[in-house]
Symmetry: C2
Subunit: 494 residues, 2 copies
């Protein structure tokens, strides 16, 4: 199958099997940048979340949940009101907006637009006198377009929908600090919606206007960053690291080295930050991405936010969109708590080091996942077409259905009854079973292959006599005859 056909088949599967629908609301033509998850997509999302929560709990992290709407002052303090902007050209006549950097790159393919300041882009506009493609009227000047969605709460209080979950977690610092009773670092995460008024939403769920973030933080002292016990337990892990100096030397293949080595080499400066890089990678690997599709790419000093001390993107290699960032790992220093301390008149200095007389504002190390991006990239990288057979090789614990149960024929009362009994038995053991009695068995297998269901169980005439069923395993297509009483242990073993 040609790569373009494969991509088309994949995109159609996303809709056809109830993974992703949109833009939503479809029956009203859709609003760009908003998508819905169907039953399969939502089940996959829930399974990923369960796995992340379980893993993070084991690493000592606790979850919080904060509002999506916050007053203006929060975003003044965070810097989002001032800096969370895109450069745009707006047509005076038709009011169309285009993103200036994307537009300039298209018009000037030989220039390097990425990284130019607003002023520099404005100069290019003046030089070339670019026009609105629709109206043929010259654009006048560059505008700063803020990406936050605005609303008004109560009797006219200006507020914004959060463009990230992270800031809302930082604001809980005092409460979290009471909660941990001086056991540092504070380990916390939040999962929830964030909103960005993208000028041109694109690439399905990769650049949406409302999306799910899963952001993990360490609030940590400067001393502990360099002397972090837990790093020793993970430092032997080898990660595919592509540091910025290698990138400057045109190296594009990441170097798989241990974190210990990376710290010794100075590629990673702080053991606590290296631990965060590990956590980001560890959670990603757990999802079953093929190893060669993952890399960790360091930002160059120019690419980073002005306050950041280090930043890495965890990227997945996709067929449709190339390398896609699904996670960012950032050393944010004490920037956030310093700013919120100033704007709220709170004192966030606490004793975090061995010298209990000395107080400091905690540093924040952050691991930020985009959950919708995980879902897209995971589906794409586990999607396979072999001899016209379409199959999602999702890890069993993430599959929307772990098992599907088929009565061979649907008009035989006894077979139907036994099949329903097996289905119910599985559900009672918290196994996500899907019951399907319509269409030929072959069709039913194909449907479940496309949903990534690892096990299909068929109840037939023999089942009535000897209490056995056929279990068919997705990855090998091997079929085995198993006693009903042994189904659970068979699945457990696998």
């Amino acid at each position: 199958m040609k790569i373009e056909d494969k991509i088309e088949t994949f995109n159609s599967l996303l809709r056809r099997r109830g993974f992703i629908w949109g833009p939503s609301p479809e029956i009203y033509g859709g609003l760009a940048g908003f998508y819905s998850y169907g039953p399969a997509g939502k089940a996959l999302k829930n399974n990923i979340l369960s796995m992340y929560r379980c893993e993070l709990r084991a690493y000592g992290f606790y979850e919080v949940e904060c509002p999506e709407i916050l007053p203006k002052i929060v975003w003044e303090a965070s810097g989002h009101l001032e800096r969370f902007t895109d450069p745009v050209f707006r047509c005076k006549k038709c009011e169309t907006m285009v993103r200036a950097d994307k537009f300039l790159q298209e018009q000037l393919p030989n220039e390097s637009i990425d990284g130019l300041s607003f002023d520099e882009m404005d100069k290019l506009l003046q030089l070339h006198r670019f026009k609105c493609p629709k109206c043929d009227i010259p654009f006048e000047k560059i505008e700063e377009y803020n990406l936050m969605l605005k609303t008004s709460v109560g009797n006219g209080v200006t507020a914004y929908l959060r463009p990230e979950t992270a800031t809302t977690t930082y604001l809980l610092f005092n409460r979290l600090n009471q909660d941990v009773r001086r056991q540092y670092p504070i380990k916390v995460f939040q999962y929830g919606k964030a909103f960005r008024n993208e000028i041109s939403p694109r690439q399905l769920v990769l650049r949406m206007r409302a999306f799910d973030q899963f952001e993990i933080q360490l609030f940590i002292g400067k001393e502990q960053e360099l002397n972090f016990d837990e790093f020793d337990e993970v430092s032997h892990n080898k990660l595919p690291l592509l540091d910025w100096k290698s990138q400057e030397n045109q190296i594009i293949v990441p170097n798989k080295i241990s974190l210990k080595e990376a710290v010794n080499n100075g590629i990673l400066k702080k053991p606590a930050f290296a631990y965060c890089v590990f956590l980001g990678y560890h959670l990603t690997s757990k999802l079953g991405f093929p190893e060669e599709t993952i890399r960790l790419r360091q930002h160059s000093p120019h690419e980073m936010a002005h306050y950041a001390d280090d930043a890495w993107d965890l990227e997945i290699n996709t067929k449709q969109f190339g390398w896609v960032e699904i996670c960012g790992i950032h050393d944010r220093t004490d920037y956030d708590l310093k700013r919120h301390g100033e704007f709220s008149n709170q004192n966030f200095k606490i004793p975090m080091g061995t010298d209990s007389d000395s107080k400091e504002i905690p540093q924040i190390l952050e691991i930020a996942f985009g959950l919708d991006r995980i879902i897209y990239t995971l589906l794409e990288t586990t999607f396979n077409v072999v001899d016209e057979r379409i199959v999602l090789n999702l890890p069993p614990q993430l599959a929307p259905n772990l098992v599907a149960v088929f009565p061979l024929v649907k008009n035989k009362e006894n077979i139907l009854k036994l099949a329903k009994k097996v289905h119910k038995l599985l559900l009672e053991h918290r196994i996500t079973s899907f019951f399907d009695s319509t269409g030929s068995i072959g069709k039913r297998y194909r449907r479940q292959d496309e949903l990534g269901t690892p096990y299909c169980i068929t109840i037939d005439y023999d089942s009535l006599d000897d209490n056995t069923v056929t279990i068919r395993y997705r990855d090998t297509m091997e079929q085995k005859r198993v006693l009903i009483s042994e189904i659970l242990s068979y699945i457990d073993k696998k």
Copy 2:
């Protein structure tokens, strides 16, 4: 303990133990109607969600997720733009808004304001010439105040934050209908945020501006509503029903009768709707509310929405706020799909009955939970103070921590190490274990009692010799010596 003291102790516990914090953001003074969940509250929420999802899956329901922001036309079709309003008085001078019905009820305690039309309330205003309490200037007239939060998407498209999840699920009807392949009813649910710009948010998380809904729907044909197989499996269940006719006769104690009886009596008209009433009650009982705190109260025909055919509130009896609705069960008829069909020019008629030539617009039966209200009422009803001992008697599977692990002393390396090993062992078995090494054992027990932790495990000097630990059970305070290798089976058995 006096009831007021008990309530105060409870309210302080919510904050002190990290259940609920707010209004958020606290460090900036808070925005009324927005709250955050701390680690304990969020863990409880997750556990409730897991239980609901697991139960609903067993009853054949599938989950979807839709955007929180939708364009204006959706809310025109749903009727929210026109009807989702509160009556308010606004002061011409200070711009303060008060809710007209609440204000009138306070000023005229002997009149019955509930159920009055906007016009009738306006007449009362004109009659009594009520004034703004701050400025002493008469209010001029009643205003309709829409409760939806408005925003602008992309280049100026007007959109609203959804005031409920339900509408967004209805819009998926075509997709869901393809997905089920003619196996009716369509059973679906959605969990997520809804937003209402309440004029006076109050009662902690009971009336917020951003809150969690968990809404369940059946899309069903008229024939199947009356002839619903699955009803037979649940019809023997006895539920505390308080129908509207009894309420008119001043009866306030619900009648515990079987659903079969209720249908035969005509208290519930349709078996499929009775099944929904059962589901609402069943999910609530599963959470461990004391039986006497639950009742199902039917709306009188005047209380219902104009399109509704039947409506019941599932209410919990609280000490602080009286009967609180945590769930509404509504027979919405074909109102929603009819309206969205008209506004979107889609044909939603499908063959749902035994006569496959006859097509109809599906009816919607709905079970709508407010998740934050579940959390508040569950915490309040399981909160107990006995002889100064504060304890949350949450069902074990919902408790934020199932187990807490304590090293008796924290400066003995061997004890600390063994305790950490036990903690890790539990986490590996997906048991939510909490590690605590600070303060006296008595203090640590008290802390876990306040979090509702069912089991506390202490590792002491003897543990080093004989590999046993002390398990203390929350509800009986019984302490038992158990081998480390037997901890898991001990907890399992309980």
